[in-house]
């Protein structure tokens, strides 16, 4: 009898163990089948469909829902009930608790408050299994409903949890893959955008060259014409041509700057410059213009602004010129005041240039959009004063590139104050900064022998006219190869080298000439790159190839003559990579 009892005890325990193991095997089997079925695809719709199929094999249910997070609550992203798709449940306490990680069972779904918010989807009663699941957009719920009341137990919850976790992980993996694909697509799109931007930049560069070449002709010839004997009427017309050409050149520069800023290709220089000198030069110019309008003009440079700073002198002047141009343009009475100061004594202080005018002013609404591209205070300004509408946008971009900004304050009829701030490291280096070119003080070189490499006949003629003023002995080459040939035959005091030429371009010709000089032990001849390719990297390329200076087209006759005079006086040492902007 004792043996029988012991056997029954063992049997009872074995049965209990077998039942437990059977339950666990059931759970594991479901997960394993899930792994096999779900690993083949991670698209949410397919995954969830397969999940419902698997669950149906393991557990009886009549309705299944997958809810994901949405802005207004939980949204049905998959369901055995097609009518439920897209339905939204406000985020009630129960669904929120489940989504946060606490699975639950219900014995009567009709009592679940969340279903009341979505009656067209409500199961109406019966039992429910509510599981947290990681849906594609975050924490959601998997809901299985049976019509019969109270049929699910915690074992069923455990059973389904394994598959829910698997689906969550697969969905997450799919999400990761899709994110990677999206990132890859974005990268491809970004590269395409970069390429398109480069194409645009190249287009602008080419347009720059193509526009500058004829503009060079118009402006230079007009300036040369102005130097001849003319009657009053002819002089007025010549002045108009010069002024219009200069305006066109400024517009061209604005468009080019805008293009470079947009493409991220605008590089600032970092070179020592004397801040007072840089400011003075610009202010003198606009003081004269203000004087022409009967306006006062005051410049105050604070003691801390004295001295040398490291930065892009040209761009600082450009911004100041833009602010002063507007101040003078929009002021009919009173005057313009410029104050320059430095805010702190650190190694890289903030320089503040404040331009105040007593002009027409503008409203706050206008101020808000004044720095937008192509914006002016109102449409009538364009009609009255002209301008590209890019000046302030470019100036603000330049200021921000200098770790600063431009802000303004004004009111209609109250004048305006523009404050230009930029960071500039103090510099102790003393640098022989080139003085502003002043046509009136242009030294006149005499009798130099000059080789001019230029493929455009009009430009050859224009250069010839300029150089006539210097009584130069000019030899022309129509391309780089001809220029190298002529250089091999004879020596010149200066070579003016166009960069874009057929047969052999100016850069290659310059390199060959420098190589010949090196081979033969000749003293290097000053070479001035003469080109409408005026972007920073063009200038750098020219200097790298061996040119001593770069003169942008349209050529300013006086600037070129000054340069030649310096060469005449000091040879190559007088240049040191000098750049002369277009007229």
């Amino acid at each position: 009898m004792e043996d029988v009892e012991r056997l029954r005890e063992v049997l009872a325990s074995t049965k209990q163990l077998a039942a437990s193991q059977a339950q666990r095997l059931r759970e594991q089997d479901l997960v394993l089948r899930g792994i096999r079925a779900l690993s083949a695809d991670d698209e949410p719709a397919i995954l969830i469909g397969r999940m419902f199929d698997l669950l149906g094999e393991a557990l009886a249910f009549d309705q299944g829902f997958v809810l994901g997070p949405g802005e207004a609550g939980f949204i049905c992203i998959a369901s055995t009930e097609t009518d439920a798709l897209g339905s939204i449940w406000p985020p009630g306490e129960f669904f929120t608790r489940v989504a946060a990680g606490r699975g639950a069972l219900t014995f009567d779904n009709a009592r679940v408050p969340e279903w009341a918010a979505c009656p067209n989807c409500a199961p109406g009663g019966g039992s429910g299994i509510y599981l947290p699941i990681v849906a594609p957009k975050g924490q959601g719920l998997l809901i299985l409903c049976a019509r019969e009341q109270g049929v699910y137990s915690s074992r069923d919850l455990t059973l389904v949890s394994g598959l829910g976790l698997l689906v969550s992980q697969t969905l997450a993996a799919g999400q990761t893959r899709r994110l990677a694909e999206a990132a890859q697509r974005l990268e491809i799109e970004r590269e395409a955008a970069v390429r398109a931007n480069e194409v645009k930049s190249n287009f602008f560069a080419n347009m720059s060259h193509e526009i500058r070449t004829p503009l060079n002709g118009v402006l230079t010839v007009a300036e040369l014409l102005a130097r001849t004997r003319l009657d009053d009427n002819q002089r007025e017309m010549t002045d108009l041509i010069v002024e219009s050409s200069q305006m066109l050149a400024r517009l061209l520069n604005d468009v080019l700057d805008f293009s470079k800023i947009e493409s991220g290709h605008l590089d600032l220089e970092r070179a020592p410059f004397a801040l007072p000198d840089a400011v003075n030069g610009v202010c003198e110019l606009f003081a004269a213009k203000a004087g022409e309008k009967g306006l006062g003009f005051e410049l105050h440079i604070g003691p801390r602004a004295e001295g040398w700073f490291e930065g892009d002198r040209h761009r600082v002047r450009q911004v100041l010129a833009n602010l002063l141009s507007n101040a003078v343009k929009f002021t009919d009475s009173g005057g313009v005041e410029v104050r320059v100061d430095v805010l702190d004594d650190g190694p890289e202080p903030t320089v503040v240039v404040r331009v105040r005018d007593s002009g027409c002013g503008f409203s706050q609404a206008t101020a808000d959009r004044l720095f937008d591209r192509f914006e002016q205070a109102d449409g009538s300004i364009t009609r009255k004063f002209g301008g590209s509408g890019l000046g302030l946008a470019i100036s603000r971009s330049l200021a921000r590139l200098m770790a600063g900004d431009i802000v303004c304050s004004s009111a209609p009829g109250q004048g305006a104050v523009f404050e230009f701030r930029f960071r500039a490291r103090r510099s102790t280096r003393v640098f022989d900064e080139p003085a502003d070119l002043c046509p009136e003080s242009t030294p006149q070189p005499t009798g130099a022998r000059i080789l001019v490499a230029e493929d455009n006949p009009n430009n050859r003629r224009i250069v010839a006219m300029v150089l006539e003023l210097a009584a130069a002995d000019v030899v022309f080459a129509e391309n780089g190869a001809e220029a190298v040939d002529r250089f091999q035959q004879e020596r010149f005091d200066v070579i003016l080298m166009d960069l874009q030429m057929p047969v052999l371009d100016g850069l290659s010709a310059t390199r060959q000439i420098r190589a010949l000089e090196a081979d033969r032990g000749l003293t290097p001849t000053p070479i001035v790159a003469l080109s409408a390719n005026a972007m920073a990297h063009h200038i750098e390329e020219a200097l790298d190839a061996g040119a001593d200076a770069h003169v942008a087209k349209p050529i300013s006759p006086s600037a070129l003559l000054t340069l030649l005079a310096e060469i005449d006086a000091h040879g190559r040492d007088g240049l040191i990579g000098e750049q002369i902007a277009a007229a």
């Binding site: 009898m1 009892e5 325990s13 209990q16 039942a19 437990s20 014995f107 009341q149 137990s153």
Partner: protein, 394 residues
């Protein structure tokens, strides 16, 4: 989820409650959400509940009277002034609710009402609990289970025991945080944060005799195979319980209860036991369970040794059901038939030691009841006699 047990043999109910509560709180190290309370009938007074509530304010209480003593991980506890045993549960991530309802004439409706109220108390009024722990007087257990299942369905384990006294004199009581109750069903719904395992078994094997109940009235079997039930039973037991011995036969019938096949698993029958308690006039045999005409009853046999070992084995099965070993358990509860306890009373220390070993020293509370409820391996909730129900957490 943390568990801690304690006991007291202090004959003063308030002092016993205070002593036990202090011990439990010290071991638990946190305020309990739920306290399982079992005491002998001597201590079942309002002062006991009041003192306990004072020590653990806010805690819900569920339990009832236990026959002759209680059992914890510290041993079997039985004193001249009675015994009180506590199991405190601290589970901030879980949810628990306790409610009661007077049985009146409709235990089914009372249980249904109690489970609804308990769900409300847990703050989960429409959620299916992980398990239900119940306590009611003997006599209406089937209706109580049916009432609970009418609300939450048949899939949730209903575990517990019927409150007991010393001499089947109706001095059994039920406990909630509201006080000491008489003829009430007390239902607690559990949403624990930890996994649980449960087992429900007897320590008996079918003997060679069986017959069909041919006349019965609820818990009274009048005839087996068309013969007076007492006469048939006397034959089956070989005269250990005489047919003409009218009156209480509880102690004598403990080694030879009747069993019915409740379920089969892989061809192996699973028996639910019925304890013959009284031989009535006319040879009727009164049981502690309902029996229906047409059911086949088997004579079951169990030895003292089997009853001593059984509780520990059932605890091991509960661990297996949960999927963990005894070393990984957090502790739990054991309901042990009061009749069995009386049969092996002198060796209850061994029973407690076997359970403590199966629990690997984890805290537990054991009560001795006049009717046990649980789910056998077919996952259907049953009421039986001479059974052991175990609930453990992993």
């Amino acid at each position: 989820m943390r568990l801690a047990s304690s006991y007291s043999l202090n004959p003063n109910p308030a002092e016993a409650a205070a002593e036990a509560a202090d011990g439990m709180l010290e071991r638990l190290g946190a305020a309990p959400e739920l306290i399982l309370l079992y005491t002998t009938e001597q201590l079942a007074t309002p002062a006991l509940i009041e003192a306990l509530a004072e020590r653990a304010p806010g805690a819900q209480i569920v339990g009832g009277t236990s026959c002759a003593g209680v059992m914890t991980d510290q041993g079997f506890h039985c004193g001249p002034g009675g015994a009180v045993g506590l199991l405190g549960i601290s589970d901030p991530d879980g949810a628990y609710g306790v409610a009661d309802s007077p049985l009146g004439d409709d235990p089914f409706a009372a249980a249904a009402a109690a489970v609804e109220d308990a769900l409300m108390a847990a703050g989960r009024d429409f959620e299916t609990p992980v398990l239900v722990w119940c306590c009611q007087p003997p006599g209406c257990e089937e209706a109580v289970i049916a009432g609970v299942q009418s609300v939450i369905g048949r899939s949730t384990p209903v575990i517990g025991g019927s409150s007991a006294d010393e001499a089947i004199a109706g001095r059994w009581r039920q406990f909630t945080q509201g006080g000491v109750l008489r003829d009430h069903v007390v239902i607690s719904v559990w949403f624990p944060s930890a996994a649980h395992g449960a087992a429900f078994q007897s320590g008996y094997a079918p003997a060679e005799h069986s017959g069909v109940v041919t006349r019965a009235d609820r818990r009274d079997i009048h005839e087996i195979d068309h013969r007076p039930a007492a006469e048939v039973y006397a034959e089956w037991t070989g005269g250990s319980v005489a047919a003409d011995e009218q009156g209480m036969i509880l102690a004598k019938s403990t080694p030879t209860p009747l069993g019915r096949v409740a379920a089969e698993q892989h061809g192996v029958p699973l028996y639910l036991l019925s304890h013959p308690s009284v031989i009535g006039p006319g040879g009727a045999l009164s049981l502690f369970t309902d029996v229906a005409e047409g059911e086949r009853v088997h004579l079951m046999r169990g030895s003292a040794q089997s009853l001593i070992k059984r509780a520990g084995l059932v605890v091991g099965d509960a661990h297996a059901s949960g999927g963990w070993t005894s070393a990984d358990t957090r502790g739990g509860l054991v309901i042990y038939c009061g009749g069995c306890m009386l049969h092996v009373r002198d060796r209850m220390d061994e029973v407690a030691a076997q359970v403590a070993e199966a629990m690997s020293g984890a805290p537990f509370l054991g009560a001795f009841t006049f009717g046990e409820q649980g789910a056998i391996v077919d996952n259907c909730n049953r009421h039986g006699n001479l059974m052991v129900a175990a609930l453990t957490f992993g």
